[in-house]
């Protein structure tokens, strides 16, 4: 048991990060190779100015008309996406673990704040799941895999929350927490979680077409 715990909390963490980083590089490499092979005309239209214009417009909360039509969804979505990155990076226990192995640390959130933010993330995911069931046009598009994504994203937060509060079976919850976190990392490059890396490119292309050719805003 100890050997297993040592493995998933030791080498497996680094393996997961390695798969994550290599996977991201591989996917981006594949995309660029395909662009070069099939649609290199795209470069004629790409512009840094309009790419960044579009990306920043869409990163500005409630600037795009689309976001103002669905304020609740977008409000939840903004908070969720920010926390998805901030929480794991600035969680005290993660920072401490990192410091122990790398002798390097950074700012961390207080545990009570992190605890509340974790609840936010879990609630946001529940909101996404409910939305998939109750809004007809979203339900029509939803497949089993969409719920799986929600579950996979939720697991590290749920297990982390439970483990922190030590409600029951602390050791098993901790193991589940570590494994689910690693699973999420590994899956990002190979599933639709990859939208976090693709979105800037699709946005940049559409932003360039709109800015350069169509002389119109795309938000």
């Amino acid at each position: 048991m100890h050997a297993f715990i040592n493995f998933i909390m030791g080498p497996m963490v680094w393996i997961s990060f390695l798969i994550f980083f290599l996977g991201v590089i591989f996917r981006l490499y594949k995309m660029f190779r395909l662009v070069n092979k099939t649609e290199n005309f795209i470069y004629s239209y790409m512009s840094w100015k309009y790419s960044l214009r579009s990306i920043f417009a869409w990163l500005t909360p409630f600037l795009p008309v689309s976001t103002r039509k669905r304020p609740v969804f977008w409000g939840v979505s903004y908070v969720f996406h920010v926390l998805l990155f901030l929480l794991p990076i600035f969680l005290l226990s993660h920072v401490v673990l990192f410091e122990e192995s790398m002798q390097w640390s950074w700012f961390s959130l207080s545990d009570s704040v992190a605890d509340i933010l974790t609840i936010f993330v879990i609630l946001a995911l529940i909101f996404f799941a409910i939305r998939r069931i109750t809004i007809p046009e979203v339900k029509f598009l939803t497949r089993m895999s969409d719920f799986l994504f929600i579950l996979i994203a939720a697991l590290p937060f749920i297990t982390g929350f439970l483990a922190y509060h030590q409600f029951f079976a602390y050791q098993y919850l901790l193991i589940a927490h570590v494994i689910s976190g690693e699973l999420m990392l590994i899956l990002i490059p190979f599933t639709r979680f990859f939208h976090m890396f693709m979105a800037p490119f699709t946005r940049a292309y559409m932003g360039s077409e709109f800015g350069n050719v169509r002389h119109a805003k795309d938000w």
Binding site: L34, T38, V65, E137
Partner: protein, 451 residues
């Protein structure tokens, strides 16, 4: 009749018989179907297609963008992403082994329930281009030869005559001369110069103008003459800037149409091409046709009438005698606002020409499509009933303005909006900018010293 009233719109649409589709489907074999689908999806698409399919999170936010979806009481199957799900995603997951019923639905969805207006690309957080996906479906339909009858006939005309309406060369020239003769009653020396080498401007129109609306050519000739422009119109094929092949996925014909248009301008050694008030033609010669032919941007300075008229009015080459009295509203055609950013100039022009302007909402880049665009109206009479159902949102948008006159600087929009005005009993007059300018302008010839 009772039957029709009780049925939901989707059932009605599914039961429509379009001879082009039916006869095409009858010819197909399962092998042909899967071969064509796989060829198009794997050989003719590339990075964009793959990334779009893999990146869509099925959040459904594109729904709010689609006027067809909104017009159908937000029924989920009409949302942009749902149209992809019911067509492209099925083709991919079944590896092209789809049924004839599936294809029949795919033709209906891609050709009649999507105006390829690209409004959804502005509502998708990732900017996924669903119009491109629908055009890919149409490309499949084209290669399977199951394109709706009426729009296919238009493409056939393009291919045989290089114009959209089977206009013969002598008819074309005759029409121009007839308009010239009539206009000479207003301006004695007015000419519609044919094939004038080295003119500043080549003026091109879409084929419905000589076919049904020759008066529009008359008006433009008067405006050109009064503004003292050095212009010409070609007597040979290439005068028509329209392009329905672009919308049926017949990209080979589409490319030829754009090519002959540019070639004609090159032959006449003109400085720029000015085109009539049309939206899809602008998309063809400004954005799509040039790419197929191999130009990043059009090889000629290409100016839409809005831009051209705006310049004439602002520079004082055309003067307004008395502003237009009736209350007007302005429809921003997708292909020249969202597709060309001309909505600002259009507004300035309305304010120069008219006394009272009422904005419709949403507007500018966010305006709803007229419901006729993207080749939808060109699918013809079999689909008119469902088109009217799918345009309800547009009808309500127009009604909210309460304006007497609706300016629509695009032919497709014009015809579609006329249908909507009639169907939803809105009592509006639909006009081009050319109509208004002709009505309010000073009918004097511009002299250089006037500026």
């Amino acid at each position: 009749m009772q039957d029709t009233i009780n049925k939901d719109p989707e059932t009605i649409a599914r039961e429509i018989v379009d001879e082009g589709i039916e006869k095409g489907l009858a010819r197909l074999t399962p092998e042909k179907i899967s071969k064509v689908i796989n060829q198009v999806l794997t050989k003719e698409t590339g990075a964009r297609f793959k990334v779009y399919v893999e990146t869509c999170m099925r959040c459904g936010l594109c729904s709010d963008a689609c006027s067809v979806f909104l017009s159908n009481d937000r029924k989920p199957q009409y949302s942009p992403a749902a149209k992809v799900k019911q067509t492209i995603l099925e083709m991919i997951s079944k590896k092209g082994n789809v049924s004839k019923q599936f294809l029949k639905d795919a033709v209906r969805i891609s050709h009649t329930e999507c105006n390829v207006c690209k409004r959804c690309a502005m509502y998708c957080p990732f900017g996924i281009d669903i119009a491109y996906m629908m055009l890919t479906v149409r490309r499949v339909c084209h290669k399977l030869e199951i394109t709706p009858l009426y729009i296919q006939d238009t493409v056939n005309s393009h291919s045989a005559t290089m114009n959209q309406m089977w206009v013969k060369e002598d008819e074309w020239i005759d029409t121009l001369q007839w308009q010239e003769e009539d206009a000479r009653e207003e301006f004695e020396n007015l000419r519609i110069p044919l094939d004038k080498d080295g003119a500043d401007i080549m003026y091109s129109v879409i084929a419905p103008e000589p076919k049904f609306q020759a008066g529009l050519i008359y008006q433009t000739a008067v405006i050109m003459h009064a503004a003292g422009q050095n212009w010409t119109m070609p007597s040979t094929p290439g005068w028509d800037n329209s392009n329905m092949a672009m919308y049926t996925g017949d990209y080979e014909i589409s490319g030829r149409i754009a090519q002959v248009h540019y070639d004609t301008a090159a032959r006449l050694h003109v400085k720029k091409i000015v085109m009539g008030e049309c939206g899809h033609a602008f998309r063809s010669v400004y954005d799509i046709g040039n790419r197929w032919v191999g130009w990043v941007m059009p090889p000629f300075e290409l100016i839409h009438s809005i831009d051209f008229f705006h310049d004439l009015l602002v520079s004082g080459r055309i003067k307004v005698k008395e502003k237009y009295k009736k209350t007007v509203t302005l429809h921003d055609p997708c292909n020249i606002s969202r597709g060309g950013g001309l909505h600002h100039k259009a507004r300035e022009m309305v304010n120069i020409l008219c006394e009272s302007f009422i904005e419709m909402t949403p507007n500018k880049e966010h305006n709803y499509c007229c419901g006729a665009g993207g080749g939808v109206i060109n699918c013809g009479p079999p689909w008119k009933g469902t088109r009217m159902t799918n345009n309800r949102e547009k009808g309500e948008q127009l009604k909210r303005t309460g304006a007497e006159v609706l300016i629509a600087p695009c032919h497709n929009c014009h015809s579609g909006l006329e249908d909507i005005v009639h169907h939803y009993d809105l009592g509006m007059e639909v006009k081009f900018f050319g109509d208004i300018i002709y009505e309010v302008m000073e009918k004097t010839i511009f002299q250089k010293g006037d500026l």
